[in-house]
């Protein structure tokens, strides 16, 4: 299966062996169990499960909130990345360190604290309540939780690209008479769109499958605030293993499609800017 070039370094056999064994046991076999279970349903049941109103609604909720959150992160994450790379201000080092909090903080903790914040008596909720804006137990709440989850993705993909941008193209634009806004719009932004899109897609991909931070603030009302992962969970609890497997497979397909999009984006960017 794998052809190795001759190398004088030892250890290929054992390391490959461990790697493949591990991957098979932990990843490949379990995943195939999923696919086999789902396919055991037959096409008919597969589609009828997926087209059930509740299932469709859950996909709608998951997708719409994830898209909204990723979009918000794209805009504000960009501002954060810009400000961290280009400006200096007190506490910048600390702020940069905290960007990764959503990566490090367990999702359940994020879930309960966001709920506490945005519920009626919460620090933020109490301001929004009189304005008639309900956040907790609505799709908006889900979106807020997903914004938390997705933030580092956009910031961390834009930051390095912004860092690496050479001064000279900006100076070139300036020497040709361009104002700051024009330089930003026509010279800098085009360079930043690829990482923005990548970050957006990464955040989107992560958000769709997110469970822990959403399940507390959403209220889990079927048809309204029930996300796909929760639906899978519910089906499991009802011992509808096949149903759970079907929905899970559909989610996996979606995630892989998104992964594919990310890879294509990166490949496309690489091609546009470098000669092969």
């Amino acid at each position: 299966m794998k052809v190795k070039e001759k190398s004088i370094l030892p250890g290929f056999g054992i390391t490959m062996g461990i790697t493949l064994l591990y991957l098979s046991v932990i990843v490949l076999i379990p995943l195939s169990a999923l696919l086999i279970k789902a396919s055991g349903a037959g096409w008919g049941q597969f589609w009828s499960t997926l087209s059930d109103a509740r299932v469709l609604a859950s996909f709608r909720v998951s997708l719409s909130t994830s898209l909204a959150a990723a979009a918000v992160n794209m805009v504000f994450g960009f501002v954060v990345a810009w400000v961290l790379v280009r400006y200096s201000f007190p506490g910048k080092r600390w702020i940069d360190g905290i960007i990764d909090l959503p990566f490090a903080l367990p999702t359940a903790v994020a879930g309960i604290s966001l709920t506490a914040l945005y519920s009626q008596n919460g620090w933020i909720g109490r301001f929004l309540e009189p304005l008639g804006v309900k956040v907790a137990y609505t799709p908006i709440g889900i979106t807020v939780a997903l914004i938390f989850i997705g933030l580092p993705f956009v910031v961390r993909t834009v930051q390095p690209v912004l860092q690496e941008l050479q001064k000279d193209i900006e100076e070139a634009a300036v020497s040709l008479g361009a104002s700051r806004w024009l330089t930003f719009r026509r010279v800098l932004l085009p360079e930043l769109i690829p990482p923005l899109l990548t970050g957006f897609t990464l955040a989107l991909s992560r958000s769709i499958g997110e469970y822990g931070s959403v399940v507390f603030i959403s209220g889990n009302m079927p048809m309204r605030t029930e996300i796909v992962p929760l639906l899978i969970m519910t089906k499991l609890e009802q011992y509808d293993y096949t149903g759970a497997a079907v929905v899970a497979t559909a989610m996996l397909v979606l995630s892989f499609l998104l992964l594919l999009v990310i890879n294509v984006l990166q490949w496309h960017t690489h091609r546009r800017f470098t000669s092969k």
């Binding site: 070139a172 040709l176 008479g177 024009l182």
Partner: protein
């Protein structure tokens, strides 16, 4: 555009890049700022462009001080060392950029860009992206882009540094002719003296942040005003003890001398016609330079470099030879005097 620079200085942190530099450039001239790397010449160029601000001193364009004028409004064109092309834009869009900024009409932009594509021999490449071009093509795009908006001053930062040696010569000639054709005041920066000498009408030699000399290439070459200029241009040997050479015994009071190999003749007893004006020496090293030999010969305590025609029989290390120094540049307190070998005109040369 007439440029006048008056006593500008620039320090980065603790490094004094430019110290008290002044010069003037007449309208329409093609000037080369020449000097070793790190000598401050790029900083001077960038200050002219407005990309750096002088810590002190004033820059005048056509008599108006421009220190506070931002780069966008100075009417300059700048060609960067690595071209700084906009890599997501086609060749056409790159060249058109400055015209778009000037809000010219689409027709006019199209026509002007076409003209510059023609001028820079980039026909057929309008829709290519920068990464699809060769180094030389990119340089021409950078050039066209800088020129298209009709700048009053064109600035080039080491334009040929990134080009292959073979292509470099052609590009140099092309650059000189194109600039002539366009007629814009141009200043370029280089560390390659051959390039400066060939391309520029006028040269400014800069060393350690100061102007060493300004003038036509031939003047700088034949009448260097400082030891640095003399040694930077062309191959040279530095000598401290001038009177030790035959024909220069009466040259006293000079700190040091610069001797150009083309003014040193080395040969066997039969070849040298004026043995009385020559020194005895021993060949140390011989280098083939294509068009001639470079012979390093030891005379007394010093090693002199001499050029020897490739037509003559080759010399070998350890050969005993005669060394005739025709001319040298003697320096005293920064003033340069050209000294001829006195013994050459002595009607009664005495040989040892």
């Amino acid at each position: 555009m007439h440029i006048k620079v008056e006593r500008i200085s620039k320090t980065f942190g603790r490094f004094e890049a430019v110290k008290d530099v002044s010069f003037e450039i007449a309208d329409g001239r093609l000037v080369g700022i020449l000097g070793p790397s790190g000598g401050g010449k790029t900083t001077i160029l960038r200050m002219l462009a407005g990309l750096e601000t002088p810590d002190s001193g004033t820059i005048y364009f056509d008599g108006h001080p421009v220190n506070d004028v931002p780069p966008q409004k100075r009417g300059i064109g700048f060609v960067f060392q690595n071209y700084a092309l906009f890599r997501h834009m086609t060749v056409f869009d790159n060249i058109a950029f400055g015209l778009v900024v000037q809000r010219r009409k689409k027709e006019e932009i199209r026509e002007r860009v076409a003209r510059f594509i023609e001028l820079t021999a980039l026909n057929g490449l309008e829709n290519r992206l920068p990464h699809q071009l060769s180094g030389g093509q990119r340089q021409r795009v950078a050039f066209a882009r800088a020129l298209a908006p009709e700048p009053k001053l064109l600035l080039l930062d080491e334009p040929f540094a990134a080009i292959d040696a073979k292509v470099r010569k052609e590009l140099r000639t092309w650059l000189k002719n194109t600039i002539r054709a366009v007629g814009v005041t141009t200043i370029f920066v280089t560390h390659d003296q051959e390039e400066a000498v060939e391309v520029a009408d006028e040269m400014i030699v800069v060393h350690q942040g100061r102007v060493e000399q300004q003038g036509a290439p031939i003047d700088i070459y034949q009448r260097p005003q400082s030891p640095f200029v003399a040694s930077f241009i062309g191959e040279t040997t530095v000598l401290d003890n001038i009177p030790s050479l035959r024909g220069f015994e009466s040259a006293a009071g000079f700190e040091r001398a610069i001797i150009r190999p083309e003014f040193v003749e080395v040969g066997t007893e039969r070849e040298i016609k004026l043995p009385g004006a020559s020194n005895r020496g021993k060949v140390r090293n011989v280098f083939f330079r294509g068009m001639h030999w470079q012979v390093d010969v030891q005379v007394g305590d010093s090693i002199l470099s001499a050029y020897r025609s490739a037509e003559l029989p080759p010399l070998r290390p350890d050969d005993d030879v005669f060394v005739l120094v025709h001319r040298l540049y003697a320096f005293e307190h920064g003033r340069c005097t050209v000294l001829e070998n006195a013994a050459k005109t002595d009607p009664m040369p005495v040989s040892i």
